[in-house]
Symmetry: C2
Subunit: 330 residues, 2 copies
């Protein structure tokens, strides 16, 4: 009895200790919740993909970009473009996505004509797929990716300026080719360019996509692309098209902002006619544009909504090409 009586307060104490410990734990949990709720906001707004970058990066890798160029049936043009691009400022490495399945890469020619300013890696593909260029390549060491179609030439000046713009807008696709979707009364979306206009939108134009065939974007988005619904890959593979539209959906979803920032190019050229293969790009196919409208509507279904947002911002370099372009001289 005596002992029993005296143990009582002990038990009470035990219960109270338990009670206080749980208070501490609950507080810590709430707090952890609050903190993690705050932190992503900062990251998401500033550098969306930094946290998904385990690679430790050299200083040069931080202030430079990797050129990713997919090539098919235009090796002569590829070699020309490699010569053009291999000396542009801030270029860290070139990754050539070799879609000429079963065909030998031009490594011998390339090496016999060395030395070259930056390493060029040929990534031999087993299937000729549009989305091969959207892999998260292990050779990719920079945060910045410059993706170029294998028939497009952009001046070193435009690239240097666009890269400096990307460094200020790292969560966006910063590029030279804007496009847009418009919604029609039937609720069906249509894909196009300056020939389309949303009803009642007044002065000027808008864009809701920036094509990745001539653009800078964050390498983290290549990681994100690996985690998309299977239906997205099927859509891209069955059309051999729209991988760039899908990337704009992905970025718009990630940021909640317009996916792209349009930089007005001073000198951009299509070299397609320079190839001896006579091969002309997929976009010449009669169904190309209809396919892209089709893709926009499909992607809206897959992602259960339209994430694309409109922008009307066009960025050009101040004082270039003429020092007086801040006067009304356009």
């Amino acid at each position: 009895r005596y002992l029993h009586f005296c143990k009582l307060p002990g038990r009470v104490m035990g219960i109270r200790l338990l009670h206080f410990t749980s208070v501490v734990i609950i507080v810590l949990l709430l707090v952890a919740g609050a903190l993690t709720a705050l932190l992503p906001n900062i990251k998401d707004d500033k550098m969306p993909n930094l946290r998904r970058e385990p690679k430790t990066q050299s200083q040069s890798a931080l202030d430079s970009f990797t050129l990713i160029m997919q090539t098919y049936n235009r090796t002569d043009l590829l070699l020309k473009l490699l010569n053009h691009y291999q000396a542009i400022p801030h270029l860290h490495k070139v990754i050539v996505v070799w879609n000429n399945v079963g065909e030998k890469i031009p490594e011998e020619t390339w090496n016999s004509l060395g030395p070259h300013p930056v390493p060029v890696v040929f990534k031999v593909q087993t299937v000729n797929r549009m989305r091969n260029r959207l892999q998260n390549f292990p050779e990719l060491e920079t945060k910045a990716v410059l993706m170029m179609d294998d028939d497009t030439l952009v001046s070193a000046h435009d690239l240097a300026f666009a890269f400096s713009v990307w460094q200020q807008f790292p969560e966006h696709i910063v590029g030279f080719v804007p496009r847009k979707h418009i919604s029609t009364p039937s609720g069906v979306y249509s894909y196009g360019s300056f020939e389309l206009q949303n009803p009642g939108f007044g002065n000027g134009d808008q864009y809701s996509m920036v094509l990745i065939g001539a653009a800078f974007f964050h390498s983290g988005y290549l990681e994100d692309f690996q985690r998309q619904p299977e239906a997205v890959y099927t859509l891209i593979d069955e059309t051999q098209n729209c991988d760039d539209i899908a990337m704009n959906f992905l970025v718009a979803k990630h940021t909640g902002k317009p996916s792209g920032v349009f930089v007005k190019p001073v000198d951009i050229r299509n070299l397609e006619k320079d190839t001896n293969s006579g091969y002309s790009g997929m976009w010449h196919r009669a169904e190309h544009l209809l396919q892209r409208s089709y893709c926009v509507n499909k992607l809206v279904n897959i992602y259960d909504g339209m994430p694309l947002k409109y922008s009307n911002i066009m960025i050009a370099q101040f004082g270039f090409p003429n020092y007086a372009n801040h006067k009304n001289k356009m």
Copy 2:
């Protein structure tokens, strides 16, 4: 003894309770510290001055701006400009800073020609000072301020677009007139425009200031201006100049970024010659530009460093005025 013995665990329990309570308190303190350390970062980066805005704001006040126009010796021009500007989109209120000391405000004429779309407040000044326009006016209810010189006309389209740009860059001065400083080998700074170039800067041009005589900026910066070193006010008053340079120093110091974002105007006009007063602006004075270089060097001494940073970004509206301006048609 028996009682005494039985009280013992009680005391022990008391001590442990005390211990656990203090744990909870310390945890909460650490956490509060962590949270407050995080929160300002977000604000500083996004909306630098929101926290300095006690005024509760109507929805219209959030999506609109206040036009602040300082006038001296050009009442005829003022009335013309008021008619031009009183109907521009998103205009919430007009504040006229009346520097015609001792002269009657044109309230009668104004009211006799009503009704007017938005309220116009005449702020009668007792001294004719350049910096009168940089007061934190109690009538100011919007976050956005549009400051215009009393001889400058900018198209409604340019203003609507620039306002939409400011909403995306609220911590910057978003305006139509870029200027820059350059450093000379002697370490002396010089003030100018496109005629000056930093040695070895290569293609294009840069700016480090956007003049507030035709610009949007955050009303919080008017509050900041009231807290500057006395020497700044003295400099502005003795030169009757450079208040706009001082504002660029202030914003650059606050953001650690370029103070301004330059929006390329499509239609901006100087109406100075339209005044019957024959009065021509201060900037016609022979010493005007030399004074401004003088001010830059003075401000560097006052603020103990050069906060101004360069930008080469020029923003124009996509697809305006011609739909094909994303091609190389400049």
